[in-house]
């Protein structure tokens, strides 16, 4: 009847419990799991938690960033070295939500949530999974495209530190700042001699999970970030997307506004707060 709660000091043991217990869910910050428990969701009978310090660890080197899956949005905002991620963390919920919402939780947040996961996609992140078998690493987009719930426990995410001023983000929402996203667009736009080299673009809320806009990325390769240069990318903006209707807006409308916001982001006309 009531859910049972199992807490483990080591993440690997939590992973074991997750696969062993019936209808078990891992508790990150609680923004999704506790709501479901409050609503007596029958899909959750066991809450699995871990107090493993690795979960809240932020590892910063000159080239690489590693974020424990339990790192909160508030912790990211408190870390000056992660300032390029601040526009993303800042628009997730209000201050109290940011004290709870975790990197790991965002990876499993159903659309239209998951803006932080989309940003990590644009940063080419990999995830490290914890399990009884030990840890294994896989690209984030592989995890997202086949999101296994329940038995998958993410220990951390990692990505190469983006070059200065190459990461951009916009959240499109009706209610600023904490309204749910109509969509979000994250982009990493490295330049070589003024031309785009190896762009990554990711969308939130334009499909069942955050997704990479690979056609737009290819269309940007070698181009300049001006009106003419970004035009082919805008023409390819929709490829791979499958937006749906919801209470915030229709799929049609999302398709209409996507290239508008992508254009503004690529041309640098938009900041995260003015979607």
């Amino acid at each position: 009847m009531s859910v049972s709660v199992k807490t483990f000091p080591h993440l690997a043991d939590a992973a074991g419990a997750l696969s062993r217990e019936r209808n078990a869910r891992f508790l990150g910050g609680g923004t999704l799991v506790m709501r479901a428990v409050n609503e007596a969701d029958p899909a959750i009978e066991t809450i699995v938690r871990s107090t493993d310090p690795a979960l809240t660890h932020i590892g910063l080197s000159s080239a690489r960033v590693e974020l424990g899956a339990g790192v909160t949005m508030a912790a990211i905002l408190a870390e000056r070295e992660l300032s390029y991620l601040h526009p993303v963390a800042r628009i997730i919920g209000g201050p109290a939500v940011r004290e709870a919402a975790t990197v790991g939780g965002n990876l499993f947040a159903p659309a239209p949530y998951g803006d932080f996961a989309a940003a990590l996609l644009a940063l080419d992140a990999t995830v490290t999974l914890a399990g009884g078998f030990g840890q294994r690493e896989l690209p984030l987009d592989e995890l997202l495209s086949r999101r296994e719930r329940g038995a998958t426990l993410v220990a951390s995410v990692a990505f190469r530190r983006p070059a200065n001023d190459t990461f951009r983000f916009v959240k499109v929402t009706r209610v600023h700042p904490k309204g749910v996203s109509i969509m979000s667009i994250s982009a990493q736009l490295p330049l070589a001699s003024g031309r785009v080299s190896g762009a990554r673009i990711a969308y939130g809320a334009m499909g069942p999970a955050p997704l990479r806009a690979k056609a737009a990325e290819r269309a940007l390769e070698g181009r300049t970030l001006d009106a003419a240069g970004v035009a082919p990318a805008l023409a390819a903006a929709h490829e791979g997307t499958s937006p749906t209707d919801n209470a915030l807006g229709s799929a049609w409308w999302r398709r209409e506004i996507l290239p508008v916001y992508l254009r503004r982001l690529l041309l640098g006309e938009q900041t995260a707060r003015h979607a």
């Binding site: 009847m1 009531s2 609503e39 007596a40 029958p42």
Partner: protein
Amino acid sequence: MLEFRKDIFADERDDNLHEIGQPTQRQDMLGHVTGTSPYYDDHRFGNLLHLKILRSPHAHARIRSIDDSAAARAPGVKRIIRAADVPVNLNTLLSLIQFGKDDEPSLAADVVRYKGEPILGIVATSERAALEAMALVRISYDQLPAVFDVEEALKPGAPSVNATYPKNTFEYYNKYDHQKLRYGDVEAGFAQADVVFEDRYQMSPIEHAPTETNGSIAVPDTNGRFIVYTSTQALFFSLDTSAKINAVPSNQLHFIGGTVGGGFGGKVDTLTEPLSILAARLVGAPVRYRFSRHEEMQFGSPRGGERIYVKDGIMRDGRIIARSVRAYFDSGAYTRLSSYAVVKCAAHIPGPYTIPNVSGDVYCVFTNRTPATAMRGFGVTALDFALECQMDKGATAIGMDPLEYRILNAYRDGDMKAHRREAKNTALIECAQVAAEKANWPLREEFRRMSSRKGEGTARPGIAPDRSRAPAVPAPARAPAAAPQRISYERPTPAALPPRPAPPAPPPRSAPLPPATAPAGSTHGAPRFSSVFGTRRR
């Protein structure tokens, strides 16, 4: 900063404002900032049980069968409450003032008429236990055609929503399917007008979304009475409604209102008390029925959507000489208070303007939507939105400044209103003039000199006969120009009122009190509602 324009209408009142304009602290503000203001839920009981309601997933369906046996046996469940358990399972809120026929069940018996309509109650030791039991209930439905649009609902052949009002409109005086206002001849006015246009205005249903959801806790007290802590805005109204539905004398219920955590009209429908009381009676323990946030947003009654058509006939000099309004209230599946909203709407036509030809038709329509209720001036605010948009359009159509257009057409004292009452104490002109001054909105001199008082300022141009067109519209009878002293609103002299009956002598203490049955034809509850029944005190 508050500014008082005491120069305006200065001769009509004493300059003795003691309260208006002075900040006065709320008596409950200390409670609010210390977290001690008592809301209905701020009571703890050792043995509190929880009532959760199973609701219809369909907008319109016949209930074929209900199997709640597994739910009844589920852990923590104390009682399942079914339609047959409700002593009086058909009610309408305004039956308390004998306005309207009972049309709404507390628990649907055979047909559900809106998505979210209550069907079963589950009383359990925790909300979780009640929700888990609810998942075990099996109900089979035959879905029925549904209608969600007010005009569609009035077309012949539309699905019949409400069994008490099968034609999908409320009945006024047991005869009329809408409220009607007629003054002058709008068709003649339109024929004479220089410009005629009509537009359609549509409001969405609006959810109050209070931070505190609807809820109540019913607690068995001594002597078979029940104490009810409730979020209601309408304490005695809810008490009487609950007494009727539970078929108990009202003195068996002791209602204690909490500070209302946001009402705005959304806590007048007595949504939770009848069933929390019934549950407490059936299980003999305190029972809380608390709306979840989802229930509040989705099934708590909204201000109903309204569709309003306004057609104006305007002369080139700016006078509106004809206005016709056709309005449809979306009451949802049941009447609740929409019947009254329609009366208010009809009373508000054509807005604060003197128009010699006015027609109003206002319908209270039933659809398979969530039943609507009061909110912030329901019946009037939406109409004002429509009328004021229409005023702006009218001004644009004839190339007149929108504020001057309003000043020109505004009521003045002594004007005859479409409801055949004389306008008194009007002040729209002065308000518009001050607003223009504050907004640096230029007004022509003649409009700055206009006045709400008869015989002052520049009089409105009379209606010039136009012999080239349809027969001239006769000018409405005008009251003779009044002296500068305004006419005060006269109270009826005592002789005009019927004598009050002497109160009956109280029965001797030893005799048992007679059962509280209302004598036939008595006015139960509040005094008669003159605007509803058409009786006029003057």
